[in-house]
């Protein structure tokens, strides 16, 4: 069961703010101003703006924690409040934390390297080993909340958030934990990442029109938009949620993961791995493609992803894909890399709870006229019971999650 969630995104510092912006079709993408982008080919991104660490953590923590870990901690605190979860001495040993991240504390790693070069080894803080570690988000959350079950990172590029939730679901089903705080976080709107992904020709170069840059499933798309954020959710066994008197928001019923075994940045041309992951998730949920009512697509806005994902959906869901809404909230958030899968699962659950389907903005000329990509404006649909959320990453990592209304 999912009993609570929290999010920090370019659209807002909570699930409510993010969801409201999604339903309004508002873009969180803008010209990057937190770093010097003068020399970069790509100068747009989805930044978390106006984030005030002191609202969530003491200065000791904000000083040592990379923004990716700060976002994750803020999202985890919101999720616990939402779920009414207080980790007391009795619960603590049975509560785990799994935070996915594609790139982790990259900004801090670059800064440490520059400090070493400019000021020498004496100037390297003893916290550097903590700050620049991939597990620092999970560690900060565990220390803050006092959770004593396993806490760890999960890194599978853009699938990290979905894989972390899937791993958390498995920890509960195999009895390793009763409650798992699972999600994803990334803060990779950095010059190195914009240059690297830009040089890989994966990013949109629509620098002059940032809000129109991310156009999933549109004929004129030209790449994804680098973005940052976090989402964390509280997963718990149904009987544990019952005992606590917690309200279930949705049931997490299926998880599937796979690898393309093909190329570092390009998806397999037939979507081999993506098919495997979606099929595995449906099988795990005990359903077929014909049971799916809504798809929150990976939908990055790259030429290859959107074409191949569309083909995969036709193949796995058959006719069904032409009768249900399929949207990409990345059109508004940009691609939050390791956070994407977690934020998008939160959006999928919000769809189950409200029947409101957030749009794919900028989808002016859909690449597949048979599919309802929910262009431009939110649609309300009755009887959405089951949602599928896809996440496909660099390195050929694929993950899919299925959630069911309660």
């Amino acid at each position: 069961m999912v009993t609570g969630y929290g999010a920090v995104t370019p659209l807002g510092h909570s699930v409510d703010e993010t969801w409201t912006a999604m339903l309004a079709g508002r873009s969180g993408i803008d010209t990057v101003d937190a770093i010097d982008v003068t020399d970069l080919g790509v100068r747009i991104g989805g930044q978390v703006r106006g984030f005030t660490p002191s609202r969530y953590m003491p200065p000791m923590v904000s000083r040592r924690a990379d923004p990716y870990a700060q976002y994750a901690l803020a999202a985890a605190l919101e999720a616990c409040e939402h779920a009414g979860l207080v980790v007391d001495d009795r619960l603590a040993p049975r509560v785990a934390v799994i935070i996915g991240s594609g790139y982790g504390p990259v900004g801090s790693i670059y800064r440490a390297a520059n400090t070493l070069r400019d000021k020498g080894p004496r100037a390297i803080s003893p916290f550097t080993q903590v700050t620049t570690a991939m597990d620092s988000a999970a560690g900060e959350i565990s220390m803050r909340l006092g959770t004593q079950g396993p806490s760890r990172a999960q890194s599978t590029a853009c699938a990290s958030g979905a894989d972390a939730v899937g791993a958390g679901m498995r920890m509960i089903s195999n009895g390793e934990a009763d409650i798992v705080l699972a999600g994803g976080a990334d803060a990779c709107v950095t010059a190195v990442d914009l240059a690297g992904s830009g040089n890989a020709r994966a990013l949109s170069k629509r620098n002059d029109d940032p809000t129109a840059a991310c156009r999933p499933f549109d004929v004129h798309r030209d790449g994804f938009v680098m973005s940052e954020g976090a989402a964390v959710m509280v997963l718990e066994a149904a009987e544990v949620a019952d005992r606590r008197g917690a309200t279930a928001l949705a049931e997490l019923t299926g998880y599937g993961a796979s690898s393309d075994a093909h190329h570092w940045t390009a998806p397999h041309p037939e979507g081999r791995g993506a098919c495997l992951a979606v099929e595995a998730a449906l099988r795990d949920a005990g359903i077929t493609g014909a049971d799916v009512d809504y798809i929150n697509a990976h939908g990055t806005g790259t030429l290859l992803n959107d074409a191949i994902e569309t083909a995969v959906l036709h193949k796995v869901l058959g006719d069904r894909v032409t009768r249900i809404p399929v949207s990409s909230t990345k059109s508004m958030t940009g691609h939050m890399i390791g956070a994407a899968g977690a934020v998008e699962l939160v959006a999928s659950i919000q769809v189950l709870r409200t029947g409101d389907v957030p749009p794919t903005i900028n989808c002016d000329e859909p690449i597949d006229p048979d599919i309802n990509f929910v262009p431009h404006r939110t649609q309300h649909h009755e009887r959405i019971r089951i949602a599928l959320s896809n996440s496909f990453g660099f390195g050929g990592h694929n993950a899919a999650l299925v959630v069911r209304a309660v």
């Binding site: 000083r63 004496r122 100037a123």
Partner: protein, 80 residues
């Protein structure tokens, strides 16, 4: 030549910057670990910042002896 008060004020500012402890709390009789609740990793950062600020070197084997705010102030006053 900086007076002990100047050294104390600068040290208090560094402690606040590194740990978030209010600089007004940083008074000579306070122990870093027992009174100000500052951990060993933060102490390393504070020591390095103090050394840079006063262009002094506190040898590693002396650091452990300097347990109070006043200890560091006197060390700096006597060794720069």
């Amino acid at each position: 030549m900086a007076s002990n008060t100047d050294i104390l004020n600068a040290l208090a500012k560094i402690v606040e910057e590194v740990t978030g402890v209010d600089s007004a709390e940083v008074t000579t009789e306070k122990s870093f670990t027992d009174d100000l609740d500052i951990d060993s990793l933060s102490m390393v950062e504070i020591t390095v910042a103090v050394e840079d600020r006063f262009e002094a070197k506190i040898p590693d084997d002396r650091v452990a002896e300097l347990t109070t705010v006043g200890d560091i102030v006197s060390y700096i006053a006597n060794h720069r």
